[in-house]
Structures are given as structure tokens and as C-alpha cells.
């Protein structure tokens, strides 16, 4: 059974992670990357774009859920279940890419710029899920 029952749960949990990160030191790392990343998820179909290339005034980055006209530098495609496990720190990024569980399209240098962001988010995601009462997803 899929972790998320519909797109709104994806946006609440994973989209919420990016919103929560805006009040965390992690936001500076995202802002420093100056890139826009679109995450395309399946099961359930959903999409989140994190845009640090064109942030709104006073914000480190913009977050768009669903379709958007924002042009991403990098597009990452995966099942929402894989995304959930990934942000819990349970998926080896390189292995997931090698196995085809994740696909990444975009300039390699931009993809590498994301790496400093990822590890701190592993700690933040389960913490955030607990904050919103979704401890059931932290396994």
C-alpha cells in the first residue's frame, strides 16, 4: 500500500518539509544553491517545485505544488513512496539512481549543488512529521 493516499498528503508531508525548512538553517543552503528543482511523483501523481533561482522577495525560495510555469534546472522523478523513504534517510541516492528507482535530468553540476541540502533534511523530515501528528509515517 502506498504511503500517501493522495496528492494532498504528499503536499502536506513532503511539501510541508520544504515549507518547514524555511524556518531552519537548512533554508540558507537551499537558497545558496540558486537552482530550481522539480520533483515529479507517481502513486499518487503529484509534483513539487522548489525554486531558489527566482525566490519571492524576502524568502529563500519558492515552493509550488502541482503544475507551475517555473522552469526547473533539475527534474527528479520517482514514486512518492521512494521520496518518503529517501527523506527519512533510508534510500541510497546513488543506488536509487543506478537502479532506476529515481531519475534525474539536468546539469550534473546543478544536481551536485543539491547534495549539501539533502543530509540535514534527513533529520528535519521525521521531526516535522511528528510535529504535524504523522508519527505513523516515521518508521
Amino acid at each position: 500500500m502506498a504511503v500517501f493516499k493522495d496528492a494532498s498528503e504528499v503536499y502536506e508531508c513532503i511539501g510541508g518539509l520544504f515549507r518547514r525548512a524555511m524556518t531552519d538553517p537548512l533554508s540558507q543552503k537551499v537558497a545558496d544553491s540558486k537552482i530550481a528543482v522539480r520533483f515529479n511523483y507517481s502513486e499518487p501523481d503529484s509534483a513539487i517545485t522548489v525554486d531558489a533561482k527566482n525566490p519571492p522577495p524576502g524568502q529563500p525560495y519558492a515552493i509550488y505544488e502541482g503544475e507551475t510555469s517555473a522552469k526547473p534546472d533539475v527534474v527528479m522523478t520517482m514514486k512518492a513512496d521512494i521520496a518518503h523513504q529517501f527523506w527519512l534517510g533510508k534510500v541510497n541516492l546513488v543506488a536509487a539512481l543506478a537502479k532506476g528507482q529515481m531519475k534525474a535530468v539536468g546539469p550534473i553540476q546543478s544536481i551536485i549543488k543539491l547534495i549539501p541540502v539533502i543530509k540535514p533534511a534527513f533529520e528535519l523530515y521525521p521531526q516535522y512529521l511528528k510535529e504535524i501528528g504523522r508519527s505513523d509515517l516515521v518508521q
Binding site: 541510497n92 546513488v94 543506478a98 550534473i108 551536485i112
Partner: protein, 625 residues
């Protein structure tokens, strides 16, 4: 004779000045295939186990055999398949020494008419070996002796020669001297450059126009197209193309793989960003190069114009060298790393052992085990690339502290007392490559049991733990977690069998070869040679090759007691992605010995030796097994 091979080896006796063509032993080809596998079978003939005296050959004596060996697929159109191996008894470890090299020399040796070269004896005066389209001769190298490897390359390359040369460090018998091809393709590990130096063999140069005959060109073309198409889709391949091996530096922000300050610290984000692939591309990179028939182009070309680190346009440092002279010394200046890389390449020094030994000296200085009186007044402070450069120059010249450091960190540590063992980072005398086993537990087992001492290339274990290889039909898949020890022995055994064939016998590159399937690999071998291997038989050949090397090492006196890792690998890091993680080396070794069928002395048991068809050679290497 099977296709893919030229059918002959060149045997060179430098003492007698005699050259002789030797036909390939076809039975051995089916058992050991080529590359380091076939080289091991030939080398075994020269080994004499200890019997009331030291085992032979002496690593720096005339009876040591230096063997250069290609594989059957080298020189064909198969991509990423044209590396070659150089082997000898290592003067650094005293056991099996093996180093794999890319570039163009391997294919061109075959184009010149030979699958390999076996060099024994020692010349009275410096010589070089020239193989010119089937004709081989020894020539006077008096004018080359003392030149660095770039200078030797410049003498020969304009006339179409492919060059394999030692630098001054090899001439002076530095125990981690390298052999350098085309300035930036290096047989670094194990001090095989010192073996060449002991033989007064300055260089081997080859050129030729012969073609490599194959059994089934149509199948080879099909596999080539498949692999090239897959490569276009592979993020691993495109990453290696864009940032070379340097992506591992940034990836370490997630994995904790890169050692910092002689393996003491687990977190150094500022340094990893400064030394990583993106900053390298922005500040150093001027171009990319590739090896024969390889679409990846992972080799870096750099130039530095600013003093004091001026580097001429040429080969740039790769991951191991950036770790050696960057993270290991807490030095964030990529330009200085490029300079140290050029210095090591010119002088003919393995950057892994050299960097490891320099970092060891820095820590010894910090702890007061050596002082200004030992260093000639040189202060060894973390981050000081200038001091590191002076030490490297001393090592290459065997001057000052370089006399001792040129013996390698293990021999140097033995002069400093027992405290030095706390931060000595060697396995079987060989400085560890820069991948932290606390971040990837299987790598601890790989280091402990690799045929040549600490090595992350004795099999595909490291790449599997990293996640960069996924070849299920060879039994090699990334584990669920890198920072666990359970199940890693089984993974390592499978990855070792596969690696001994892929990188060893067939001399594929692990980078370009990471996207080939087992089915394609065996089909490629069969299409080139006309053999009829199955995947299972191919993996058995991998086991056979590793087992033969283990028998050779047993003859040299190696036992289970030598299968260990430095104690620092068993102490947890305080921070970083691998914080608190320690490999359970005892568990992994216990399981490994059972799976590999090794006896209490660490030797393969008789039944396993028989199963692998090694009984006859085992009887000579390990009498009474």
C-alpha cells in the same frame, strides 16, 4: 589460438640481455583469461615459498618478475575495456603487487604484436625496451636516466610511441614509486616503479599497426551499441564525464566516505565544497581526456598560471589525489593539489601512498614523535601545502626525512615506537585508499582481504556500497545500508568474484564497466575469443584468480593475522554522516573465511583448490596444503 589474443608474450631477461617470444598457453587462457589473472598464473612460476630462508623472489632483486598483461578485449571496439595490468612482488607489502592502468598502452601493446611482457633479471646500465610493430629490442637509456616521466614522454610521443616510464623516485627505489603512462595514467599501487628501477629499466615504449582479430564482430558491435546507448541514459556515467571521480568528494556530505585529517574527523563541509567537483570545474578544469575506446572522458585536464603552484596544461588530480593532498591534510587549495599531483606524476610517486605517508608524518609531528630536527626545520602544520610539497620532493630524492618516508609509512612508523601504531593507516604495508570503512562497512572487509593490501578495487564491493554499480546477474547490487556489517561478507565475496574478472582478467574500467550487464560481459568475452563461457563459469574464473593470488601470498608468508584493518577504522567518528558507525570486522572476517573456504592459516582448503583446478600450482606454492 583463441581470437582476441595476439598469441604471444615477450619474455625479457635483462641480466642476459635476451628477448624471447613465448606462445600463450591456451589452457591457461580458459582458466585465467588475461589481465591480472593470466599474469598471476605466469608469476606463480617464479615464486619459491620460504624453506629455511626468505621466500623468493626478492621484490627488489633480479629474480622478481615484472609482468605487463592485457586482456583479450583490449584493442577491440568494446567501450571502457582497454585497461591493462602490471604485477610483481611488491616492495611495499612484500606480497602480490598489482596495479591497473588505463590510457592507450594496453591496446597499442597488442597492436605491436604482444599480449604481454614478462621482465626478469636486471640490467647493468639503464635500458629501455622498445617494441616496434612486432620487433622488440633493448636500447641504452643512459640519457633518459634521471629524467622525469613527462620528459620521457616528450622524447617518444612525437614519434607515435606509447610510453610507460618511471621517474626519479623509481630509480631511487622509493617503495611506493609508480609507473606512468602518457603523463596521467598511472600504475600507482604497490611500488612497482621501484621494481622497474631495481632492474634499471627506465621505460617500455610500443607502437604498431596490427589489428586485434575477433571471433564474432556482429555481436561485439551489438553489445557496443547497447552499452553506449545505456551510457547516454546513465547519471553515473554523465557524472563521471562532467566532474570525473571528484563527485565522491561532494557525495561524502551524505556518505561520510572521504577521510579528513588523517582519518580523524568526519565532517568538513567547507573543505569538501572547496575541493569538490563543482569548484574544481570552475577553477581548475581546462579540458577532458579519455582512454582508448571509452566514451566517458573522466580524465581531467588542468592548468594553473598563478605562483607558487604553476602547473602546465596536463593531467589534473583525480579523487584519490584530491583526498590525499586536500582532505587528508585539511588543505582547501585545489591549485596546490594540482601542483602536488603534477609533482608526483613527474617524479613517479603513487599519490595514495605518498599522501597517506605525508599525512602520517604530519600527525607524527603534531604528536611530537618527530620534530624540526627530523624535518630539517620544516614545520608540518595541517593545511600547509607548501610543507607537504617539500616532503614530497624529499621523498622523490630520498633526502632528509624523505629517506625514511620513501620506505612507506609502515616502515617509518616502526622507527617511531608503538604510539605510532595508533594512527598508522596501512593494511599489509599498503596505505589505505581514501574511502572510509566506517561509512561503508564492506570496505573494511575488502581492505583486510584484498590481494595487494588495502585496496578498494580488488572487487566491486566499494562501488556496490556507494550505490554506483547494479549488476544483478553478476550478484552485485547495492546493499540496504552501507553502515551495517551483517551480510557484507556475502556481498564482498560476490563482488570480489565479479571484480576479479571485470577489472582483473578482462581489464575493463570499473567506471565505464559499471553499466554493463553480466550477460553482456560474458557475451562480449565469447564474441571476442570464441570461447563459450557462461556467467557461472566467468564468476568461477574470478574465484580461481583470487584464490591463486591468495596462494601466492601464502607462499610469501601471509596468514590470517595479516587480514586486519588499522585500529582507527574501528574507532567511531564523533561527527559527520558516519558518526558512531564502526565496522564489525571480526564478524565479517569469520563469515568471509567460511564462504571463501580458507583454513586456520588463511590458505584455501585443498578441496577448494581442487575444485578450481589449482592443485598442481598449489602444491608448489603451499607444499602439504
Amino acid at each position: 589460438m583463441a581470437k582476441g589474443y595476439t598469441g604471444r608474450l615477450l619474455r625479457v631477461d635483462l641480466s642476459a640481455g635476451r628477448l624471447e617470444d613465448v606462445p600463450l598457453n591456451e589452457k591457461w587462457l580458459r582458466l585465467f583469461i588475461g589481465g591480472s589473472g593470466l599474469a598471476a598464473r605466469h608469476f606463480a612460476e617464479a615464486v619459491r615459498p620460504a624453506s629455511g630462508g626468505p621466500a623468493r623472489p626478492d621484490p627488489l632483486g633480479p629474480d622478481n618478475e615484472l609482468i605487463i598483461m592485457t586482456g583479450p578485449v583490449a584493442g577491440t571496439v568494446l567501450p571502457s575495456a582497454s585497461r591493462f595490468n602490471i604485477v610483481a612482488r611488491s616492495p611495499l607489502s612484500g606480497i602480490w603487487g598489482e596495479s591497473s592502468v588505463g590510457g592507450f598502452f594496453g591496446p597499442h601493446l597488442k597492436f605491436a604484436g604482444y599480449d604481454g611482457v614478462i621482465v626478469t633479471g636486471a640490467a647493468e646500465r639503464p635500458v629501455y625496451l622498445a617494441i616496434d610493430d612486432g620487433r622488440a629490442e633493448l636500447r641504452d637509456a643512459s640519457e633518459l636516466w634521471g629524467l622525469d616521466t613527462y620528459q620521457v614522454h616528450a622524447r617518444f610521443a612525437p614519434d607515435g610511441w606509447r610510453v610507460l616510464a618511471i621517474g626519479p623516485a623509481g630509480e631511487r627505489l622509493v617503495r611506493f614509486a609508480s609507473i606512468v603512462h602518457d603523463r596521467g595514467h598511472v600504475a600507482g599501487r604497490g611500488g612497482l616503479g621501484a621494481v622497474m628501477g631495481s632492474k634499471k629499466l627506465k621505460a617500455v615504449v610500443v607502437r604498431g599497426r596490427r589489428e586485434v582479430a575477433v571471433a564474432d564482430r556482429e555481436t561485439i558491435d551489438r553489445i557496443r551499441r547497447q552499452v553506449l546507448e545505456r551510457g547516454k541514459e546513465s547519471l553515473t556515467i554523465s557524472t563521471f564525464r562532467e566532474v570525473g571521480t571528484l563527485s565522491a568528494i561532494e557525495l561524502s556530505l551524505m556518505t561520510g566516505d572521504v577521510p579528513v585529517k588523517n582519518w580523524r574527523e568526519g565532517s568538513w563541509e567547507e573543505g569538501l565544497q572547496a575541493l569538490g567537483g563543482n569548484n574544481y570545474n570552475d577553477t581548475l578544469l581546462t579540458g577532458r581526456k579519455t582512454c582508448f575506446g571509452c566514451p566517458v572522458s573522466c580524465k581531467r585536464v588542468v592548468r594553473v598560471d598563478a605562483q607558487p603552484y604553476v602547473v602546465e596544461q596536463g593531467p589534473g588530480p583525480e579523487y584519490e589525489t584530491v583526498a590525499a593532498f586536500g582532505t587528508m591534510l585539511q588543505n582547501t587549495d585545489l591549485r596546490s593539489v594540482a601542483k602536488l599531483n603534477e609533482l608526483c606524476n613527474r617524479q613517479g610517486l603513487d599519490t595514495i601512498s605518498c599522501g597517506g605517508t605525508v599525512a602520517f608524518a604530519f600527525e607524527a609531528y603534531e604528536r611530537g614523535l618527530i620534530g624540526p630536527a627530523d624535518t630539517g626545520g620544516l614545520a608540518l602544520s595541517w593545511g600547509d601545502a607548501g610543507a607537504a610539497g617539500k616532503l614530497v620532493e624529499q621523498i622523490a630524492r630520498r633526502e632528509g626525512l624523505g629517506k625514511l618516508l620513501g620506505e612507506g609509512s609502515e616502515r617509518f612508523a616502526a622507527t617511531l615506537g608503538s604510539d605510532a601504531q595508533e594512527f598508522l593507516m596501512t593494511v599489509k604495508g599498503v596505505e589505505a585508499p581514501f574511502h572510509d570503512p566506517r561509512a561503508m562497512h564492506g570496505v573494511a572487509l575488502q581492505y583486510a582481504t584484498a590481494d595487494r593490501g588495502a585496496s578498494h578495487l580488488s572487487g566491486l564491493t566499494y562501488y556496490a556500497e556507494l550505490g554506483a554499480v547494479y549488476i544483478p546477474d553478476l550478484g552485485v547490487e547495492p546493499p540496504e545500508s552501507a553502515q551495517t556489517s551483517a551480510g557484507k561478507a556475502a556481498l564482498h565475496v560476490r563482488a570480489q568474484d565479479a571484480g576479479q574478472v571485470l577489472g582483473g582478467a578482462l581489464a575493463f574500467c570499473y567506471v565505464g564497466g559499471s553499466i554493463i550487464t553480466g550477460e553482456e560481459l560474458v557475451a562480449a568475452l565469447n564474441a571476442v575469443t570464441g570461447f563459450e563461457f557462461t556467467i557461472a563459469e566467468l564468476l568461477t574464473a574470478g574465484r580461481r584468480i583470487w584464490t591463486l593470488k591468495r596462494l601466492i601470498n601464502s607462499a610469501f608468508g601471509m596468514t590470517r593475522a595479516d587480514d586486519r584493518v588499522p585500529r582507527r577504522f574501528l574507532e567511531p567518528l564523533a561527527d559527520g554522516p558516519a558518526a558512531g558507525s564502526v565496522p564489525d570486522i571480526e564478524l565479517m572476517l569469520k563469515e568471509y573465511y567460511e564462504l571463501m573456504k580458507l583454513d586456520e592459516a588463511g590458505r584455501p582448503v585443498r578441496s577448494e583448490v581442487g575444485r578450481l583446478g589449482l592443485s598442481e600450482v598449489a602444491e608448489r606454492l603451499c607444499p602439504g596444503l
